[in-house]
Symmetry: C2
Subunit: 266 residues, 2 copies
């Protein structure tokens, strides 16, 4: 059986094949470490235009890496040769806003009117922070980053509307500026924090009770720093109850040909 | 009769009203100087999704300021209270890729399936350059910036495909770095140059014969610096021959509530 180590340095093509053949159906953190991983949202064309407009209006929570052509399961610009119907380890299928199944292949569900969206995820952005010397507690502890629904309303587009979800990382006070300037260099993956300190002002009642992920201790020399989170578009698409929506399963991301270095440099 | 000076410091609302009542039907450079002016492209919904995808894939030539809701002539996010059918001084109407008329009001042409796109224009970006002390020859000379069709292909989306158009500004060699760092701060309006020097490598046969605008002298201590130009999306939309396309008339831009300072700061 393949392990994370086997795929840690592999090229995207090998990871896609491992997913396609069923050799890999587990979470993607740690695999293809040099490459940008993305969230996946697939919607019918009837909803896709408003969803794209929603992403354009809310670039921090919804950083578009690619919008594939209608009916095309190959994201030609960032992952030529990949097939989004088979090349992720695990998918979730929602109908009318309800999770109906989790599967490792969506070939049978594919339709000519489906549009695939690849959205930036925090792995690339954490790569930039770690590289700059900003410690990340949830990674040190092997935990999931804590995420919170906030009182910030996203700018609506058609039926897509709702609150912004943020992720929180405790950052030493002396490194807050560095965390801001480093993430300013990666607007493709959430960019700068939306909020520093003062969780109350974000509508977070209890920082120790995240809506998703694990609670983290915040030291007396640290501040909770909040970034727009890629869970936002998925949560909002779900609330809009599209006839059909297919996403990656949490943690089971799509791997692109883009490298983390390319994203930082661009 | 109103003059540019009468409107130089006015708020957007007054300029919209002057357009609406017919008091102002001339070019907009110099009016509402603190405010962001934009290109306008209006397309039927059947073409609008691919056009939005095209803009997403080509952010330098196609910097989206706002995509209004389908059928809505009010750009609520950047110009609440405005009516895009009346509040520009002058429009051009194209049918099947042919210019059919120029008019000062498009109320009679409006339809429920039309989508209005506001795209960043170079005025804001020149404001940032001038403020940083980078001289701009075409402004000093009262000329139009020279624009060139290049050998850079935009990334296609559906029927929207074609070459990138660039604008050229001669920049003193010692200020080229400054021109890059200043425009890096305004990704909403074309961002950093796509090319510095070497016009041949861009497919420009003769720098003294621009495809649009006026030729400019380039001093021996200066380099031609090329930025992606907002003429690109319009030129490409036109080549795609949509059933209907309505744009601003050249130089007769839409004025938003956004200020140039806001764009630089964001």
């Amino acid at each position: 059986m393949l392990t994370v180590n086997d795929l840690a340095r592999s090229d995207p093509q090998s990871a896609w094949e491992a997913c396609r053949t069923g050799e890999w159906d587990r979470p993607t953190p740690g695999i293809c470490q040099e490459h940008v991983q993305t969230n996946l949202v697939i919607l019918p064309r009837s909803d896709a235009f408003d969803f794209l407009r929603f992403c354009q209006r809310n670039p921090k929570p919804c950083p578009l890496i690619e919008v594939a052509d209608t009916g095309d399961p190959e994201p030609k610009l960032t992952a030529a040769g990949a097939d989004l119907r088979t090349d992720l380890p695990r998918y979730r299928v929602y109908r009318a806003g309800q999770l109906v199944e989790e599967r490792t292949d969506i070939r049978k569900l594919w339709r000519d009117d489906l549009v695939a969206f690849l959205l930036g995820c925090s792995f690339s952005f954490e790569y930039a922070l770690l590289k700059a010397g900003v410690p990340l507690r949830h990674i040190e502890m092997g935990a999931n980053v804590p995420m919170y629904r906030t009182s910030i309303r996203c700018t609506a587009a058609g039926k897509f509307a709702g609150p912004m979800v943020v992720s929180m990382r405790p950052i030493p006070a002396r490194l807050v500026s560095l965390a801001v300037t480093v993430t300013a260099q990666v607007p493709e993956v959430h960019g700068t924090p939306v909020h520093v300190g003062a969780p109350d002002a974000l509508g977070i009642a209890d920082i120790n009770r995240p809506d998703w992920g694990d609670a983290l201790d915040i030291g007396s020399d640290e501040l909770p720093v909040f970034w727009a989170c890629g869970v936002t578009p998925q949560a909002i698409a779900l609330e809009a109850s599209p006839e059909l929506m297919i996403t990656h399963a949490p943690g089971h991301m799509f791997i692109t040909r883009l490298t983390n270095e390319q994203i930082i440099a661009s």
